[in-house]
Amino acid sequence: MTKFTKLSLAALALVGMSATAGTLEDTKKQGFVKCGVHVSNAGFSEVTSGGERKGMDVDGCRAVAAAVLGDASKVKYTPLNAKERFAALSSGEIDVLYRGTTWTETRDTSLGLNFAGVNYYDGQGFLVKNSDGIKNAAELDGATFCIQAGTTTELNVADYFRANKMAYKVNTYDSNDQVIKSYESGRCDVITSDASQLYGIRSTLKDPSGHTVLPEIISKEPLGPVVRQGDDAWFNIIKWSYNAMVEAEELGVTSQNVNKMKTSDSPAIKRLLGTEGNMGANLGLSADFAYNIIKQVGNYGEIFERNIGMNTPLKMKRGLNDLWTRGGLQYSPPFR
């Protein structure tokens, strides 16, 4: 073993050790949550004209800050690119990665990461013109697709159409911009990409209401927060600060009525808001951690509607991200 590899292994071991020393204590001591986010992704992590970050992922970071520090604004955002995000996490530059990261087996096991939940169920979808009269993907036989080159999108389309024995043509382009331009000029009938992107693309078209994202999703892209392996206490905090938002929506607790709900008779609400049981203490947090999240950030439905819902330019439907009680996949294990 060369001196260099020994040295680097020692350094890595040191990083690993200090990670187990307690991200929670470190975070309380430094007074802010170190959160890695997308540089710019409309609806998930975007910067307003006033210079503030907002979005689904950003609200995830704020929920952690509200839970741990009692103040949702105590977050230090580190904008990260796809390539550097995991290194930033394992080096301790950030403590939680809220950056639309797809949960896959390889990442979960071999990269030393833990996925703490799914804050957005994404998947590859299709954007079509209403005037073409296409209502679902089965009618896409013979269509021409616009695709960004070098993405898994292309492979997914090939798989899907071969499996369904349908004919299709593909035009690939280097950039997203070119994809949109050629769709607008009629060189292709369909844009295919992750559904969350398609809603963004639709809002940039001249007449957004003249285009529809089809209901079919042909690939699984569960996006969620990620932490380092080896600090289970911190992992639990990320997991349950997210679950608290989903549970709150299910129980009908919102940022508006959370004060009133504190006196509710429902045992489930009492446990969630910390007036009964010791949910907070189990996590090493204050009893009212979920109250702080809901009061300052909101429940899952609220952050969805505020950032990407029907009243925003992105106009995303809840779809897969609806609560399980309404046919979606968002489901929090019980707080008890």
């Binding site: 540089v39 409309a42 910067v47 004209s49 210079g51 550097e84 949109i180 950032n307």
Partner: protein, 361 residues
């Protein structure tokens, strides 16, 4: 007595002056020239009017929201609304005056350089400007609030990265060039190894190393500022190129200059700094400025390590869901800013060349 009658001055023949002549001489002199002129005119004709139509006649300037951009042309409203972000990044609004003061002081410095004849005074003025500018931007002293580097961005970050790269790589480059030209074997081989190693690696790799690999070797708690890591990487990278350019200048100095300096008993440093370097730099100016201009453009690479310079700010500004799809306007604006800066630098280098040109004309 014969009287000399001044003849009336005749005008030059019609075909050797005026616009027609100029056109004939420069644009339509030979068949191939005619073809090239027509081709050029056609290209301009097919690009310029549509561009002007888009960028000016059909463009929107008023308002402060996307809904007010109704025309078919560019939506400059976007650039107007996001101007602070393009210029200052996320620098706190109430602290922006510090950056503006830095710019004003810079122009005062330029004015001083223009009028002052004393090189010593110039060096003192420049050094104190650098110190004051760093203080203004980072804060933390004299009651100035500290502004963390993750708030830096836009044009301001581009200029900081380029300026630090240029200012610090220059002396390091000179020392490396001296080292490479030195007769001491150890110094020489160290310098050659360094220069050749750095020049064998793309800047993007060095940035990646500094942002992704380096932190893995520090124990946690010791986190180096991301921007500082990038700045060190860029400076070390640029120094290798500056060194090679200056070495080129050193080699153009005739042997006799070295011998003459030795003959009048100058020490090594006196010889290099007083005799050789001034002449070598004069030769190296065009290449140096070229390298600095390309560094200014290379600063845009910092976007791959998540630093938000002027170019990546376009992506950030157009990712705002209230302003989706405005990339084109942003990129055109940024193109113009980059052009203005690079053109300015290249004009300045022309002026320097003329100023230092002591050859007989």
């Amino acid at each position: 007595m014969a009287v000399h009658n001044q003849k009336a001055v005749r005008e030059a023949p019609a075909n050797t002056k005026g616009i027609i002549h100029w056109l004939q001489e420069n644009l339509f002199s030979t068949p191939s020239n005619i073809a090239l002129t027509l081709l050029g005119a056609y290209i301009i004709y097919s690009i310029l009017p549509p561009f002007l139509q888009w960028a000016y006649f059909d463009a929107n300037f008023a308002g402060d929201s996307k809904a007010q951009c109704t025309g078919d042309g560019a939506c400059w409203t976007f650039v107007k609304v996001k101007m602070d972000m393009f210029m200052y990044g996320f620098y706190p609004e109430d602290q922006v005056w510090r950056l503006q003061a830095g710019v004003v002081l810079f122009f005062l410095l330029i004015g001083f350089f223009y009028f002052s004849k004393s090189n010593k005074l110039k060096i003192i003025a420049f050094t104190s400007y650098m110190i004051v500018a760093i203080l203004l931007i980072t804060g933390g002293m004299f009651g100035l609030e500290v502004v963390e580097t993750d708030k830096w961005g836009g044009l301001m970050l581009t200029i900081v990265v380029a300026a630090v790269g240029i200012v610090f790589s220059f002396p390091i480059g000179i020392i490396l060039a001296f080292g490479r030209a030195s007769e001491l074997p150890i110094i020489k081989s160290i310098c050659i190894t360094y220069i050749e190693f750095i020049r064998g690696v793309p800047l993007i790799t060095i940035l990646f190393m500094s942002s992704v690999i380096l932190p893995l070797f520090f124990p946690e708690g010791i986190t180096f500022d991301k921007l500082l890591r990038a700045l060190i990487g860029i400076t070390l990278f640029q120094a290798a190129y500056v060194a090679e350019i200056i070495r080129g200048g050193l080699q153009s100095i005739p042997r006799g200059q070295y011998e003459a300096a030795d003959a009048i008993g100058l020490s090594y440093w006196q010889k290099m700094l007083l005799v050789i370097l001034p002449q070598a730099l004069k030769v190296a100016i065009p290449n140096l400025v070229g390298a600095f201009i390309s560094l200014f453009q290379d600063t845009t690479l910092v976007l791959i390590i998540g630093l938000l310079d002027l170019l990546s700010m376009v992506g950030v500004a157009a990712g705002d869901s209230a302003w989706l799809g405005m990339e084109t306007e942003g990129y055109v604006f940024v193109t113009f800013v980059f052009w203005a800066f690079c053109y300015g630098m290249s004009r300045y280098s022309n002026k320097l060349e003329k100023q230092f040109n002591t050859e007989l004309k």
